[in-house]
Symmetry: C2
Subunit: 458 residues, 2 copies
């Protein structure tokens, strides 16, 4: 039984807590997989590298109507994949080496294995070599993340999740994606841009249905033009057949494919940690319960990121890691996490970005609000791009002008959202935002300027 | 001699002043060319339509190193051009028809010709049909814009300016661009992306030398890889030669080309207006002198846009038009134009955007400042794009954290600058801006977040 000042479980955002200010703490780090967590290894970072590559692959097709004749000759899948993981894998390896061997980490012990609580701030780690180690600590940080959920009906066939799909040996001709959320939307974009025939299966009637209804509807309409959408149905079974995999649907139809990608959602890794033994409460969705300072129900135990946050976003996990870091170092003056205006983006085609309330949520909360939209087609840069489908939608309080929600579907959505995040975070009202600063003409942010001016404020 | 309540000279931003609130004013509008002004017809709008098309043409070449093999087969110049002017020309025509014939404009008389002052608020308009009309007015708004400057040495050859280059009959094989500013940088990008061999001639040693020196240096370095840059030299003469045009330089060399584009700068159209007769003062650069309410030295005469503004930017002209509009309607409660934080962008490759002071200007003003840069290569989306040359550079007051200047060179620069414009305009300090809002990971605005965090503030 070795005792530590601090144990951090998970090396995603949790790993960023340790800096020189912890140099005289005895610290243990537990990692069951590769260093760096979901974002670096199987999430945001590699997916965006694939997405950018997909956009280059899609560009030739977009040129013809503008007078530019270009042809996509081919996508060298193994080069694409190896370029991406050739950058990422060494970072994960380097992160591990740093904690294991660098002089900065003389105070840090790394346990490579899976931790389980055996008591209050008492953990048993099943190491990869089959042995176990028991450790205790004054403080424990749970940053063990989450993993993809796998639905029933795929027991008899090979399938991929976001953990493995980016490392395929070769590009398939056909892919069935089970799920309609952001992971499905991003991979459908990537693989269809690379020439793969994509079928999307969903239980609901729309893609990205957690977005504002107008955004979801527009995205679904555009998706239908590119992908074979099988919505309002469920997967009932599947089988290996000559030449591929057959996926059976509740409506009696079936789809043959080469590769199945499961993207129906993620679940927190809380179930792996035997949390009841540690006195750590979880919600019905399996998320560790935390207060606003990121403390769990167990004295001395903090949590952050996907294991406790329903947002499942790296920028939220990083923010929470800074909060936990501060609160570990300054127990007498804890700070609170700020979850008021958490934005997100979907790097599909088109891009989607949002912050704040959907119209549905504003209604459900009984808020007074006004809304306005602005099409890309109505601003000069949108003309230049011949964009005919993108728009921004804003919700605001009609009296104060405070922005309640912002939703964008179209080019650069994930960049265009930032001034709106900033306005909401610092309480800048819509009218002042529109007229109290310059908007470069004819740059893309005129979309936001015009959406703001369209709001029918009192 | 007809008398009006208001005469507006120029139909660019000046044209936007007239709305329903002027319905019972007797108004005259004078336009010597096409309706809509520089931006719509020969400036921001068509150039950006060409720039976006150029980006599609340039995309295939960018793919190879990322594993995407695409080929540019050709650019159908006449289709590109006709698509663009097929959208723009009808808007100019429609704008003219609206003022001439629409019931909304029953109170508006249009004079198509060139106006000259003959006295205080007294103008003579030389109409296109050769006749002249004399008019007087209680109020005059000068919004007559500017035009390209043509340097010596081109007396014996045909040449283009930004007024004509976009309407070429066919794409030339070779183009010499005289000038190194933003117009030169944008057209060099457009035509080289379309396959034209571009030579850029400049008197100074760098392109975009009005930008921060680090931005100008990086842009010049990248330009040198694509275009034949002949800097630190001057045009001494030119001649028509078999097969094209020869341009002679001060260093004794010469360049043969098919088309010469002059892009050395613009001058206000103030010299066409016989301003001394109207009592309207101009600066040594020919700009009409205005106070902060956009009033000129002559009672009842206002000016706005390129004729009075050294910024020569549409968003500034539009802002000033709103100020003049307010002040015409509310003479007892005039408002002032806000020229504190005027941003601009150069839609070349790479893009450049900036707001506030260059480091050179901060030094010249004796300001205390700190600066920081952040490379695109150091943020996740920059990795995804394999960008190795872009960066953001910020200047801030080390004590207050108030941003003094922001300069970006790289993808989406003209969009990424907006949160910085917003912060400067509303007095949000750098540290609060960085940490008081979320930045979507891994989206492009992380460039700004990291540049802010890099500032060595007290």
């Amino acid at each position: 039984m070795t005792h530590f000042d601090l144990v951090v479980v998970g090396t995603g955002s949790g790993n960023s807590i340790l800096d020189s200010r912890f140099a005289d703490w005895r610290v243990a780090v537990v990692e069951k997989g590769v260093f760096g967590g979901t974002c670096l290894n199987v999430g945001c970072i590699p997916t965006k590298m694939f997405v950018h590559t997909a956009e280059l692959a899609a560009a030739p097709a977009a040129g013809a109507k503008l007078g530019v004749d270009a042809e996509l000759k081919g996508v060298r899948w193994s080069d694409v994949r190896d370029r991406i993981f050739g950058r990422i894998d060494p970072i994960a390896v380097g992160g591990r080496e740093y904690r294991l061997a660098h002089a900065d980490n003389a105070n840090v012990t790394v346990f490579e294995g899976t931790a389980r609580f055996t008591g209050k701030r008492e953990l048993e780690v099943a190491l990869r070599d089959g042995s176990t180690r028991s450790i205790t600590a004054d403080r424990v940080v749970l940053a063990a993340g989450g993993r993809p959920v796998v639905p029933a009906g795929l027991e008899d066939v090979p399938f991929h999740t976001s953990d493995t799909i980016m490392r395929l040996d070769e590009l398939p001709a056909r892919m069935v994606i089970v799920g309609t959320g952001f992971v499905a939307a991003e991979f459908a974009h990537v693989f269809s841009s690379f020439g793969v025939d994509v079928t999307v299966l969903g239980r609901s009637g729309a893609m990205l249905r957690q977005e504002d209804a107008d955004i979801s509807a527009r995205f679904t309409e555009l998706a239908r033009q590119k992908w074979d959408l099988r919505l309002d149905t469920t997967l009932t079974g599947s089988a290996v057949v000559p030449g591929g995999i057959r996926v059976d649907l509740a409506d009696g139809s079936s789809v043959e494919t080469d590769v199945v990608l499961v993207a129906v959602g993620r679940q927190p890794n809380s179930d792996l940690l035997n949390l009841p033994a540690g006195g750590v409460d979880v919600t019905t969705t399996g998320h560790v319960v935390v207060d606003r300072t990121q403390r769990t129900s167990a004295e001395g135990v903090w949590a952050l990121g996907d294991i406790s946050s329903p947002f499942e976003l790296k920028h939220v996990a990083n923010h929470e890691a800074r909060v936990v870091q501060h609160n570990l170092l300054n127990p007498d003056s804890p700070i609170e996490a700020d979850h008021r205006f958490v934005p997100h983006a979907v790097f599909s085609s088109p891009q989607v970005a949002a912050v704040g309330l959907t119209e549905r949520a504003a209604k459900a909360q009984g808020l007074r609000y006004v809304s306005a939209t602005q099409d890309y087609a109505g601003i000069a840069y949108g003309w230049a791009m011949e964009d005919t489908s993108g728009f921004a939608k804003l919700l605001a309080d009609p009296v104060s002008g405070q922005l309640l929600g912002a939703h964008i579907i179209g080019p650069q959505a994930s960049t265009l959202i930032q001034p709106l995040i900033q306005a909401m975070s610092f309480g800048l009202d819509a009218r002042s935002m529109a007229r109290g600063q310059y908007w470069i003409h004819p740059a893309m942010p005129e979309l936001i300027e015009n959406a703001l001016l369209n709001l029918p404020l009192d």
